[in-house]
C-alpha cells in the first residue's frame, strides 16, 4: 500500500461527498416536479413523450398500479430486447455481420440481465453484439432500468413522506423524468469527457492494422481448439495484422456507470483500454457509479424533512465503503505468496502486488477501489478480474453484494434496499425499548416488518439454493475454471451477482451453458422483482398512515448511534446469512494459500 494509493481513495470519497448535495437537491426538484434549469429543453420533450404514449401526467397511482405499470414495462422491453438479439442480422449498424445471438438461452439470459439492471454477460460483446443491439438494445436498457430503479426509490420515499394518502406517484412520469432530467444530460456531457481521453465513439467496422513485429501463434481448428501435428507438436502460423474492435462505446460507457448497470461494450469491460483508457476516465467512471446513490440519501433527507437522517445514512454507507476498500487494497497489495522469483514489492518504479488480471495504468490501488465501488453499488463493471484477485481481495466484492449493495448502492435499488434495512433497524430498536417502532413519524407495524423480511429472505434463498444444486451436479461443476475452494467461490459469486443485480463475475466460470444461463437468468428476475413488489407494498402502506409526532420514547434516526445500529443490522443480516458459504470458499482458500497449497 502507498500513501498515493490512499490519497486517491480519500480523494474519491471527497468527490462523492461533494456531489451528494447538488445531486440530491436536483433530484428532489425533478421528482417533486418543481422548476429546474433544464425545463426549457426537457419539458417540451417530456410533453411529446406523454402525448405519443398516452400518459396522463396528473394521474396518481396506488402502489399496486405503480407496480403493475413497472412490471408491464419491464416485460415488454425485455421481450423487445430478446427479439432484437435474435434478429440483429436483419437490423442496421452491423458492420461485422454478426448473426443472431445464439443459443436462445444466452439471448434470454441477456434480456433478463439488462432489464433487471444486472448486466451479467454470458457473451463477449465484441464478438457477439451488433452496434445496433448494443445501442438500441443494451444501452437503452441501461437508461430505463436505471430510471426504473430511481423511480422506485422515489416512490418509497414518497410513501414515508406522505400522510394519509393512497397514492405514491405515477410510474410513467417518474420514469420519463428520471431519463430526461437525471440521466440523459449527464450522459451527453460525460460521454464527451470520456471520448476526449480516448474512449472510442464511432460506427466504423473493426480497424485492421499492420503489426510492428509479426507474431507466431498456434493455429486453431474450426471449433477453436489449438491444432497439433501428427507428432503432437503445435501447428504455428504467422500473424501480421491486428484487428481492433471499434464501436459507439463512450455513449454506452457513461450510462453503464451512471446507471450502475455495468455491462461492458467489450468482454474486458472497464479494463479494456477503449472503455477506460486513463486513470482520469477511471476516476470519472467510479464517481459516476456513486453519484446517484449518494444523491438519493440527500433526497431522502429533503423529501422527508430530516436532512440529518439523510447524512446519518450517508455516513453508514461511507464507513462500510472504507472498511471494504481497506481490506481489498491491503489484500491485493500484499500479492500472491505462491509466486516465486518475482518482485511484488512497492518501489519507485512499480506498484507491485497481485498484478494478474490487472492493468498497469490502474495498478493495485485503483483496481481495488474500482472493485469495491462497483460492488458497493449494483454496477458490476470491472477494471480487473475478480477471479484473479487474492482470496480475501476477491471476498470483498462478494461480501459487498451479499450485503444487498446498499453502500451508496445501485441507482434507486441501493436506496430502497437501505430503507428495508432501516425498517429492520428501527424495529429492532423498538423491540429493545419495548415500544412500537416509528420511522420519521410513521409507525412501523407487523405488515411492514413482514414485507421487509420477505425482501431480506428471498435474496439468500435463491443464492444458496442454486449454488448448492450447482456444487453437487456435473452440469454445475463442469463450468468451473479454478479447482479447490476457488471453484465454489466462482459458482457462489454467479448467483450472488445475479440475485444482487450486480453483473460482475468470477469470469473463469463458463457461464453460457443451459444451466447457468437459465438459473442465473431466473435469479436476476427474482432478485429484482420479488424484492420490488413487497418493497412497494411497504411504501403504499406507509403512505396511508397517520403522522405521529416524535416523542421522548422515539428512537432518533439522526444520530451516530443510529448509524452504528444500522451498520450492525446490515452486517448481522448480510454477513451471518452467508458466513458458512464464505468460510468454505474464500476464507478456506486464503488459509490454504498461506499454507502453500495449489490446485
Amino acid at each position: 500500500m502507498t500513501v498515493n494509493g490512499w490519497f486517491q481513495i480519500l480523494f474519491f470519497l471527497l468527490l462523492v461527498f461533494l456531489v451528494t448535495k447538488p445531486m440530491g437537491v436536483f433530484m428532489t426538484r425533478v421528482f417533486n416536479r418543481e422548476k429546474t434549469f433544464m425545463d426549457p429543453v426537457m419539458r417540451p420533450l417530456e410533453r411529446l413523450l406523454y402525448r405519443v404514449t398516452g400518459v396522463d401526467e396528473d394521474h396518481e397511482m396506488r402502489w399496486t398500479e405503480y407496480a403493475i405499470a413497472m412490471l408491464l414495462f419491464s416485460v415488454v422491453s425485455m421481450i423487445v430486447l430478446y427479439l432484437m438479439q435474435r434478429l440483429q442480422q436483419y437490423l442496421p449498424w452491423n458492420p461485422q455481420k454478426f448473426g443472431p445471438v445464439t443459443p436462445a438461452h444466452v439471448a434470454f439470459n441477456t434480456a433478463a440481465s439488462f432489464t433487471t439492471n444486472t448486466n451479467w454477460q454470458a457473451y463477449a460483446g465484441e464478438t457477439t453484439m451488433s452496434y445496433f443491439t448494443q445501442m438500441a438494445g443494451l444501452a437503452f436498457h441501461n437508461f430505463v432500468s436505471a430510471a426504473t430503479g430511481i423511480a422506485l426509490a422515489i416512490a418509497f420515499i414518497r410513501g414515508i413522506a406522505r400522510r394519509q394518502m393512497k397514492t405514491i406517484g405515477n410510474f410513467w412520469v417518474d420514469l420519463v423524468r428520471g431519463c430526461l432530467w437525471v440521466l440523459l444530460p449527464f450522459c451527453v456531457v460525460g460521454a464527451l469527457a470520456l471520448v476526449s481521453q480516448g474512449v472510442v465513439q464511432n460506427l466504423h467496422p473493426y480497424e485492421t492494422v499492420k503489426l510492428v513485429e509479426p507474431m507466431q501463434v498456434q493455429k486453431t481448428d474450426a471449433s477453436g481448439k489449438p491444432m497439433v501435428d501428427s507428432h503432437g507438436k503445435p501447428v504455428m502460423q504467422t500473424v501480421t495484422e491486428q484487428t481492433i474492435a471499434q464501436g459507439p462505446v463512450a455513449s454506452q460507457e457513461i450510462i453503464k456507470e451512471f446507471g450502475t448497470n455495468g455491462g461492458g461494450f467489450f468482454n474486458a469491460n472497464s479494463a479494456h483500454p477503449f472503455e477506460n483508457p486513463t486513470p482520469l476516465t477511471n476516476l470519472i467512471e467510479m464517481v459516476a457509479i456513486f453519484t446517484i446513490g449518494a444523491g438519493l440519501t440527500y433526497t431522502l433527507g429533503r423529501m422527508t424533512g430530516s436532512q440529518a437522517h439523510g447524512w446519518a445514512v450517508w455516513s453508514a454507507m461511507a464507513i462500510l465503503f472504507l472498511a471494504g476498500v481497506m481490506v481489498a487494497y491491503w489484500a491485493e497489495a500484499r500479492g500472491n505468496p505462491l509466486l516465486t522469483g518475482v518482485n511484488p514489492h512497492v518501489t519507485a518504479l512499480q506498484p507491485g502486488g497481485n498484478m494478474e488480471g490487472k492493468e498497469v495504468r490502474f495498478g493495485i490501488a485503483d483496481t481495488a477501489l474500482f472493485g469495491t465501488v462497483t460492488t458497493d453499488a449494483s454496477c458490476g463493471a470491472i477494471n480487473g478480474w475478480f477471479d484473479s484477485f487474492t482470496p480475501l481481495g476477491g471476498m470483498i466484492p462478494l461480501v459487498n453484494i451479499m450485503l444487498s449493495e446498499v453502500i451508496f448502492g445501485g441507482v434507486g435499488a441501493g436506496m430502497y434496499g437501505m430503507l428495508i434495512y432501516i425498517v429492520l433497524a428501527v424495529f429492532i430498536a423498538g423491540l429493545m425499548v419495548g415500544r412500537t417502532p416509528e420511522y420519521l413519524g410513521k409507525k412501523i407495524e407487523a405488515y411492514d416488518v413482514k414485507m421487509a423480511m420477505l425482501v431480506v429472505l428471498v435474496f439468500p434463498l435463491v443464492i444458496l439454493a442454486f449454488t448448492a444444486v450447482s456444487s453437487v451436479n456435473g452440469f454445475g461443476t463442469s463450468s468451473i475454471a479454478n479447482q479447490g475452494p476457488h471453484g465454489l467461490t466462482e459458482m457462489l459469486y454467479a448467483f450472488v451477482s445475479g440475485a444482487g443485480n450486480n453483473g460482475s463475475a468470477f469470469g473463469g466460470l463458463t457461464a453460457n451453458t443451459l444451466w447457468y444461463d437459465t438459473t442465473v437468468g431466473l435469479t436476476m428476475l427474482a432478485g429484482r422483482f420479488l424484492m420490488i413488489v413487497p418493497m412497494l407494498a411497504i411504501a403504499g402502506n406507509l403512505a396511508e398512515k397517520k403522522y405521529v409526532p416524535p416523542s421522548l420514547g422515539t428512537f432518533p434516526v439522526t444520530t451516530p448511534l443510529f448509524t452504528v445500529l444500522l451498520i450492525g443490522v446490515i452486517l448481522i443480516v448480510g454477513a451471518l446469512t452467508f458466513f458458512p458459504a464464505l468460510s468454505l470458499g474464500p476464507i478456506l482458500e486464503h488459509l490454504l494459500m498461506m499454507a502453500g497449497k495449489t490446485f
Partner: protein, 192 residues
Amino acid sequence: MKKNLITAFLMTIATTILLGIIYPLVVTGLAQLFFPRQANGELIEAKGTVVGSRLIGQAFSGPAYFHSRPSFAGYGYQADNSNGSQLGPTNHALIDRVKSDTEALNAENPNVPVPVDLVTGSASGLDPDITPAAAKFQIVRVAKARSASQQQIAQIVARNTQGRQWGFLGEPRVNVLELNLDLNAHFPMTGH
C-alpha cells in the same frame, strides 16, 4: 391494466428511439466533430501505414524489442477478443506459468527479481503499458540486440515514461508500442 399495457408498448418504442438511437448518434456526431482522433481509437501511423493504436498493446518477442505483458486475449493481444487469464491465485497453472516465464527472463538478466507485471497477464489482455520497472529490466537485452549502450536505451525509455495523471492518479507507465517505434526510429536494426 390495458391502458398501462398499451403505454408500456408505446413507451418502449418512444424511449428506444430517443435513448437507444438518437442519443448515441448525437454523441457520435459530437465526438467525431470535436475529438476525431480519440473517437477513432488513437491510431498510429509509421511510414504511411497504420501500425496500431496507442491504446491497444501488441505482442513483441524479438530480443531487440521491449516485450509487453503476457496476454490472454484470444491468441495473445487479439484486439477483437479481450480477456484475462481468469486463473485464480491458487491455480497451479498460474504458479507454473509464472515460474517458467520468470526463469526465461532471469536467463537474460540474472540475479534481478522480475517485476511482477512482466510475468502476469493484464485484465484486458490488451494492456498497452508496462511499469517503468519492467522496462528497466529489459534494457540489458534490448541494448545488446540493438548494439547500443544501456544508457542510450535508458534515455529512450525515460522519454516514453508517463508519470501519474495530474501527478497522483493511476500509476507511472511506459507505452510499449510507442517505445518500440521510437527505438526503431533511432536505433534501426541492421538487416531490416
